[in-house]
Amino acid sequence: MRIVLERRLTPSRNMQYLSPLLAIVLSLVTFFIIFVLSGIDPLKALYIYFVEPLTAVWSIEDLLVKAVPIILIAIGLAFCYQSAVWNIGAEGQLAAGALAGSIIPVMFPSLQGPAVITAMILMGIAGGMAYAAIPAILKIRFNANETLTTLMLVYVANLFLDYMARGPWRDPAGFNFPNSRPFSEGQILPVIAGDSVRLSIVFMLVAVVVAWFLTTKTMTGFKIRVLGLSPRAGSFGGFSRDKMVMLTFLISGGLAGLAGICEVAGPIGQLRTTVSPGYGFTAIIVAFLGRLHPFGILIAGLLLALSYMGGEGAQVAIGLSDQTTQVFQGMLLFYVLACDSFIYYRLKFVREPVLDAATVR
């Protein structure tokens, strides 16, 4: 007897929306079991993780601050994934954006003001775009697999960032700490609400709305969807796959770059050897958990930001390792993808002989 996945004739539409919720529930159940097995009071742990961060104004603000870069990046990634372009290198594109956006404040510290901030933002976007264009060109010109190239380019960007922060751009007055000089007030995004919510939240909300309009209402969104679902039908429709590969890479690179510069010219306030605790990778989970839909991504982004917050709280309160957060995020992605598989396939137990791979064609 063997187990096969059989394609469903009509995938359920409801399950497409329920699947992320189911994944969240399954992740929580698994988390619960893990806590029980490791001798931690599971209810208390889950409370610290997922409820406590929502009980204080400052931590809700912090939640929003963390959600902004994650959602920005995930919005961009959703464009890629809809067209079946598997860009998993947003972390590197974020670093490239942070580096490019930091050119002015590091090299010309005297330049300040709204115009300078605008220029920094634009340079950050351009940096992320340029860095994302590399795997796009490799894919178009040489058919190089973007899953590999984008991931490898993450390490290139992060090591280059590390080098710049330790070497040429290190703050001469910084007691040899591997940081750039701290940015001045006129080089940092202004706080627009509470103590720490900056202008970048507006960028994020604009990105969500614009992305929603682009994907659901325009021909560009239609082309991206068609090429992602059936490339051959896309070319029959007269759409250029190469153009869409480049476009989706530029959109996602640009948004990751924007997230990068908003971090350094925001909560961080200087260029460091690392500028992101893995937002570029978390955004992949957010994109899928949000069904690649901008509004879904908004909600999923807040949830994943919550897991970062909860992780920090649990570290302090019950001494849980900060790896726990990554375990939770990984588990969530696993369950989303697993639940999604069952939308399109059903499990079947078969008693017939196994077909040879060479003959299944």
Binding site: T10, T218, P353
Partner: protein, 530 residues
């Protein structure tokens, strides 16, 4: 007893190696094989002949264990056996060389073969073994070459050697010469002779009657899932074999199809040549064709003879080098893409419904937009989609072509094949295109839907459009085409009036005897004399 003259082959007088008795295979209600009997003797090359859809692949898959028969029995050397899987078939002594190879480009010959043979752990010994076998059977191969550097003929040798290393007693070859040059084919025939000299039997699937006559001892001919004849191909004429394959009845023209009267050329192809895009594709050779307003031209041919490549060249999915190669309504379009060609008034229906003609996971209204976004239907305003306009169009197409659907605007993939085909053909005809190119208009479609589609094609042509249908279904071509041309190995014969052709003549041309243009011209001359 028997006098063996040069080139004359005699079927060995021995007991059966493998016998299929009363094999039937049902797919739903469709009988792909209907009580098929087949006996192969050791040491013979046994041809399996038939049109597309005659049931050849089904039968072979049953013998090779990748399909299970619905009824019937297989006997191997007299013993009744069940072949549950290809690996069981290989253990029994049955090897198969597929039309499309399964080799890893980046690996060497030895590495590729080692992957298939789990019991050979010593790579160097395997390489020596490969060399020995390849010399023995006249299949020169360097075991350390990488597949990517090999020609198609050499790749086939790798596949054959891989089979031979398992000491098969029966070798099944699926259209082995379709990818070979004539020289490579001759080499292959010598190898087959050496194999049979050692007592190995070969089941040889081919459409090419000349080569079947040249190398095979015996032939079994299938039509519509049934064995229609068994014969010695050397004794029969190619035309006899062809008529057995396609059915002997001569076409009777249906009376309600008046010949076209207008003489305006709407679609013109001039000296279209395109190299093959990949090793398994077919190159197009100097194709020329004119289609007038009001007529339907049918292109017959066996699958894989360049139909797909020709369609892509016409639709602009693969543009040509010179603009004058394809002319649509008097305007040179050879270099234009598919959208620009649609703007000139052309419309296209590809062979593959799912994933080429339509996106299965999108709604019907979205699928309207796929080909109608630039054809003057006002579905876009500065890049913003008019959803209600799309729905109106989808409804109109659904009503006029009787598309039966489960919901108002369902996903394309949820429609049955026939209904989806009606929708896709309807989507294009609804535009009233001046030129319509349709590939396999009724492939896998039930009779009712096929009739709707064929009638719509005739109506479109009679309203002044030029219609080109590429089809493997001869009945369909005879039913609706005014003129017929045959495509074979990328060559297109001169189109001739359908009423002047018999099925036998078409069958011969499809089997490769009409290549170049000589045959077709001879046929035309003959038809004119008659």
């Amino acid at each position: 007893m028997e006098t063996k003259s040069a080139g004359r082959r005699t079927r060995p007088e021995s007991g059966a190696l493998i016998q299929a008795i009363g094999i039937s295979k049902l797919f739903g209600s469709f009988k792909a094989n209907d009580a098929v009997d087949l006996t192969i003797r050791p040491g013979e090359i046994h041809a399996l002949l038939g049109e597309n859809g005659a049931g050849k692949s089904t039968l072979v898959k049953i013998l090779y264990g990748s399909l299970q028969p619905s009824a019937g029995e297989i006997r191997w050397k007299g013993q009744s056996v069940r072949i549950p899987s290809p690996s069981a078939a290989r253990k029994l002594g049955i090897g198969m060389v597929f039309q499309h190879f399964s080799l890893f480009d980046a690996l060497t010959v030895t590495e590729n073969i080692a992957l298939a043979l789990a019991d050979r752990s010593n790579r160097a010994a395997l390489a020596r073994e490969i060399e020995k076998v390849s010399l023995e059977y006249g299949l020169p191969l360097n075991p350390s070459s990488r597949i990517v550097d090999l020609s198609v003929g050499e790749r086939q040798r790798v596949e054959i050697v891989r089979c031979l290393l398992q000491n098969p007693e029966l070798l099944i070859m699926d259209e082995p010469t379709s990818v070979l040059t004539p020289q490579e084919a001759d080499d292959l025939f010598q190898t087959l002779d050496r194999l049979t000299a050692r007592g190995c039997a070969v089941l040889y699937i081919s459409h090419r009657l000349e080569e079947v006559k040249q190398i095979c001892h015996h032939a079994t001919i299938l039509r519509l899932g049934k064995v229609v004849a068994e014969c010695d191909p050397q004794q029969e004429t190619a035309s006899k074999l062809a008529s057995l394959m396609v059915g002997a009845d001569v076409h009777v023209l249906s009376a309600d199809t008046p010949p076209p009267t207008s003489a305006k050329t709407r679609l013109s192809v001039r000296n279209l040549s395109l190299p093959e895009p990949h090793p398994f594709a077919v190159a197009l050779h100097d194709i020329s064709l004119d289609i007038q307003a009001g007529e339907i031209v049918g292109i017959a041919g066996i699958a894989g003879n360049g139909q797909g490549e020709f369609f892509d060249a016409l639709s602009g999915e693969r543009p040509a080098i010179r603009p004058e190669t394809v002319t649509i309504d008097g305007k040179p379009a050879g270099k234009l893409g598919v959208t620009a060609r649609r703007r000139l008034g052309a419309a296209f229906v590809p062979e593959e419904r799912i994933g080429h003609g339509a996106v299965p996971r999108l709604r019907l209204s979205d699928n309207v937009l796929l080909t109608r976004h630039a054809t003057g239907d006002q579905l876009l305003r500065v890049g913003v989609i008019d959803f209600s306009g799309m729905k109106t169009l989808a409804d109109r197409i659904g009503r006029s072509f009787d598309v039966r659907k489960s919901a108002v605007d369902p996903e394309a993939g949820s429609l049955s094949g026939g209904n989806l085909q009606k929708f896709i053909v309807g989507r294009e005809i609804d535009r009233q295109p001046s030129v319509l190119v349709v590939s396999q208009p009724t492939w896998g479609v039930d009779a009712g839907a096929a009739a709707v589609i064929r009638q719509a094609l005739i109506d479109l042509a009679r309203s002044g459009s030029a219609v080109l249908i590429i089809s493997q279904d001869l009945d369909e071509i005879f039913e609706i085409a005014d003129r017929v041309a045959v495509i074979s190995r990328g060559y297109l014969s001169e189109p001739v009036p359908a009423r002047s052709l018999s099925r036998e003549q078409i069958g011969l041309m499809m089997a490769g005897l009409g290549e170049g243009k000589s045959m077709a011209q001879k046929e035309t001359a003959h038809a004119h004399r008659a």
